[in-house]
């Protein structure tokens, strides 16, 4: 177990080196650079050259990369070229927003997706099954930004039920010791703020959770269909177990294994989907942070942000692999 974890953590090293090289080369292949972006259309070639010299961007790429790795080794991620704030500080401020949103979206996908898939399988070829298929198709095929705009138009602009931008109404304020606004509201015992933050999460969570919801529903359905024809299910039914007990202890539990894998894979999707969702909802998380950084050719933020995300995806996948052991004792034994 420990060896497994250590081995997986060691794998992080080549992954991070690979990711950092790719990002490093990719952003430098984009036309324009931070100097030109900062100086705007007024830039004289001399001013751009002087700024590039100051930023060390006139040196060969491998020298720049060497300096970057040297900096990383001391856990320094540099400063944002636009806000001039340390990348790590900005990340700490913005990451909780994305986590909060990803959790809300994941929660929405799970509580709707698993029952939808489960009942679709139970009522195979019935109305519920077809409903589930339609929802999944809509979920997978609607682009996030389009769904987000429609949701906002209907529920914020037309009906006025929910807010359209941000994490919290600007007329409410609580201290932000954690930057997890739900948690901050609870810590401040400000229930108005808690409700307000929750309302701000609903539409982005639905927009971001739609694709995972569809995938989870389909996988659950397929998995439940498989499992419910297994011998042990028939045995359980034959020995007279209550149908509910069969469903939960035998069918769903055994069907969870592929579902857990899919949930793990969705974390990457949630983080990449956050880029679009956060931009449309002006949600100040790492998604909108990276979009702004790419527009401004803000190299330190792009490099740092992508590295952070890579680390998180690797960790989550590790957690998912570890969770197999709890779901299926047979995996626990194998090394």
């Amino acid at each position: 177990m420990l060896r497994f974890v250590v081995r997986r953590l060691l794998l992080l090293i080549p992954i991070l080196i690979g990711v950092s090289i790719l990002v490093f080369l990719w952003i430098r292949a984009l036309p324009g650079g931070p100097a030109a972006a900062l100086l705007g259309e007024r830039a004289t070639p001399e001013a751009v050259a002087a700024l590039e010299h100051q930023y060390g961007l006139d040196q060969p790429t491998y020298v720049q990369y060497g300096k970057y790795v040297e900096q990383l080794a001391t856990l320094e991620f540099g400063n944002s070229s636009t806000s001039r704030q340390p990348v790590a500080t900005e990340f700490r401020q913005r990451f909780p927003a994305t986590i909060e949103l990803a959790f809300a979206a994941g929660f929405f996908a799970l509580i709707v997706g698993i029952p939808l898939g489960f009942f679709a399988a139970k009522r195979y070829q019935g109305v519920v099954d077809h409903t589930s298929l339609v929802i999944s198709l809509i979920g997978i095929s609607t682009p996030i930004f389009f769904l987000a705009l429609i949701l906002k138009y209907v529920f914020a602009v037309q009906l006025g039920w929910l807010p359209s931008v941000g994490r919290m109404s600007v007329l409410i304020d609580v201290p932000h010791p954690t930057n997890f606004y739900l948690l901050d509201a609870i810590l401040a015992r400000n229930w108005e703020a808690f409700v307000d933050v929750s309302k701000h999460l609903i539409l982005p969570a639905i927009a971001l959770g739609s694709i995972p919801l569809a995938i989870i529903a389909r996988i659950t359905r397929a998995s439940v269909l498989d499992v419910q024809n297994e011998d042990y299910v028939r045995t359980a039914q034959a020995k007279g177990l209550a149908p509910r007990s069969v469903d939960f202890s035998h069918v769903l539990r055994n069907a969870m294994l592929p579902i857990a894998t899919i949930i793990g894979l969705q974390v990457g999707l949630l983080l990449s989907g956050a880029v679009l969702t956060e931009t449309v909802f002006a949600f100040p998380g790492i998604g909108s942070w990276l979009v702004d950084a790419i527009k401004a050719r803000n190299y330190p933020v792009i490099q740092g942000g992508v590295l952070f995300i890579a680390i998180i995806v690797v960790f989550v996948n590790l957690l998912v692999d570890l969770s197999y052991g709890f779901l299926n004792p047979r995996i626990r034994l194998s090394k």
Binding site: S81, T82, T131, S164, H176, P300
Partner: protein, 569 residues
């Protein structure tokens, strides 16, 4: 068959019901809260206005920024020696009640307004003014970088110490500032200049509290391994202390920046209790937030959204006077453009009205000269060149050429500018009109930055699309920037036809009497449009949007817009 149809129709209905049910919770919750617009709009006088920009400010220190989001907030918190009449580019007294120059325009005496308090309670006096000027002049290290002190360098040039690596020029217009008494500041320049008076109205020359600048380490910071200057002081992020009608309250990056009315303000006090600035990067999101009442105003309205806003009785569009110019530039050193008749033929052959009507959505006017009419020095009586293809052909023949005359016409790609939203379509329409006027156009394009700008700076383009947005309301910032010194883009490095204009512009820059300066600039505009180094074709108007209850917002061509005059009806 019907059964099958039902099987698919039912699920769809169910799905929609599900979505509605999923949000039903939100509905119940929202009955407890109040819509933001109700809370903020209520009460007549006072109230809170929520305004959305596209991004967070960088830092609230006018000397160190040039981005519009920072300048917008800085305008509320700080003031400058010279102010602008609201909605114009005409200088009027600000923190200086009056100013005068010696005969040769090198020594300027400013009478500093008395009884003005900074937000930290300290008094404004001439020493505080000079403290600020000396601070700017003595910037070192990466403060000298044009990305930080762009406006100082445009107006005053260099710094007390010259660093060849910084990109800043060596020579400075600024010599010294002395406080001869509490209300008199004397600024000495190294050469005669009058353009610096209107330039002082820029937020870059905001007068800050010397006490706060020192206490909160405005000049402290370090340069990291990437060469990026990283301020460690808190002046620009937590303690921006000026004399403006609003004072700073708090700033949560990515979320909100709050300012409140300053009750000890020397002039007419603001009506609003608070202004909250929110960053909303996405255009559609800004519009929707205005429609829901989460914000009461936003900047950078997309032209295609304007009809939607105008049709909605609860919303309004406010136009900023144009402050830019799009032009077709000529390299006068490249034959046959060295012949004035050929340039005139080009001018008559460009259907500028057609382009403005087709591609600017009614948000632009045809340009007559290289600066907008809101800037003093604009001349109404310049030679005009209305589209006349026959006249073009005739002029070409007079020049001894046989139509069609070959022209290399360039346009930029990967760019959209307020003055040139769609360069390719502008190009296509202008090229088509030239083809009818006896020219054979060879189209060329290049990516905007660095290729296109580089080629035009190097004088490699014969005929090309380009433009400019002003920094401050002075003719020098438009025609001075283009024509005062010889430039390769116009071919004036080799062709001396523009010499008389260069002399006029130099004379105008040094002329301390404003009325005389204006006459000189008007004359320069007449001569420019006679010599024709290019043909200006459009001035476009950017738009802001507000909810209908917002009154008293004075749009300014230079975006020096104060919320102090705004009320919520």
């Amino acid at each position: 068959m019907r059964g099958k149809l039902l099987k698919f129709a039912l699920p769809l209905v169910a799905f929609l019901a599900l979505i509605a049910a999923g949000c039903g919770g939100g509905d119940n919750e929202s009955t407890g809260g109040t819509a933001p617009s109700e809370t903020t709009g209520g009460g007549g006088a006072g109230g809170t206005l929520v305004f959305a920009g596209a991004a967070d400010p960088v830092v609230l220190d006018g000397a160190l920024v040039s981005d519009g989001e920072s300048l917008r907030v800085i305008t509320q918190l700080f003031e400058t020696l010279v102010a602008l009449k609201p909605g114009t580019t005409e200088p009027e007294p600000g923190l200086a009640e009056s100013w005068s120059a010696n005969d040769d325009g090198t020594v300027w005496t400013f009478k500093i307004r008395q009884g003005v308090k900074f937000h930290d309670g300290t008094d404004l006096d001439a020493a505080a003014v000079c403290f600020n000027f000396d601070r700017w002049y003595n910037f070192k290290g990466s403060f000298q970088n044009p990305s930080a002190t762009y406006y100082w360098q445009v107006v005053f040039g260099g710094f007390s110490t010259f660093n060849p690596d910084s990109g800043a020029p060596e020579e400075s217009l600024y010599a010294s500032c002395e406080a001869s008494d509490a209300s008199t500041a004397v600024i000495t320049l190294t050469k005669p200049s009058a353009t610096f008076i209107p330039a002082l109205s820029q937020q870059a020359f905001s007068i800050a509290s010397p006490k706060a600048l020192q206490e909160f380490g405005a000049d402290e910071g370090s340069v990291d391994a990437d060469g990026i200057f990283h301020p460690t002081g808190t002046f620009g992020t937590e303690h921006p202390v000026g004399t403006g009608p609003f004072q700073f309250v708090s700033w949560t990056r990515g979320d909100r920046l709050v300012v409140e009315r300053f009750d000890d303000y020397w002039g007419e006090k603001a009506s609003l209790d608070q202004v909250i600035f929110r960053p909303i990067a996405d255009n559609a999101a800004r519009l929707q937030a205005l429609q829901t009442g989460e914000i009461q105003g936003y900047d950078l309205v997309e032209p295609q959204d304007i009809p939607t806003i105008q049709e909605n009785g609860d919303l309004q569009v406010i136009d900023r006077p144009p402050f830019n110019v799009a032009y077709v530039g000529f390299n006068m050193s490249m034959p046959p453009l060295d012949d004035p008749k050929v340039r005139q033929a080009l001018a008559y052959g460009l259907d500028r009205q057609g382009v403005v009507d087709s591609f600017y959505g009614g948000r632009a006017e045809v340009a007559k000269e290289f600066m907008p009419s809101s800037v003093e020095g604009y001349a109404d009586d310049v030679p005009e060149y209305t589209y006349d293809p026959e006249k073009s052909k005739q002029l070409l023949q007079e020049a001894g050429l046989t139509p069609p005359v070959k022209i290399d016409f360039w346009y930029p790609t990967d760019v959209s500018r307020p003055y040139m939203p769609d360069p390719k379509r502008n190009f296509e329409a202008l090229a088509a009109s030239l083809e009818k006027a006896g020219f054979a156009i060879t189209p060329h394009s290049a990516p905007w930055s660095p290729d296109y700008l580089g080629k035009s700076d190097e004088g490699q383009l014969q005929v090309y699309l380009l433009g400019w947005t002003g920094d401050y309301g002075d003719a020098d910032n438009f025609i001075g920037t283009f024509f005062q010194s010889p430039q390769k883009q116009w071919g004036t490095d080799k062709n001396d036809e523009m010499k008389p204009v260069q002399d006029l512009l130099a004379q105008a820059e040094a002329e301390p009497k404003q009325a005389k300066r204006i006459e000189l600039y008007q004359e320069a505009n007449r001569q420019i449009m006679t010599i024709l180094p290019g043909v200006p074709y459009a001035h476009s108007s950017p738009a802001l949007a507000f909810t209908a209850n917002v009154k008293g917002y004075a749009p300014s061509p230079t975006t020096n817009e104060s919320f102090a005059t705004v009320t919520l009806g």
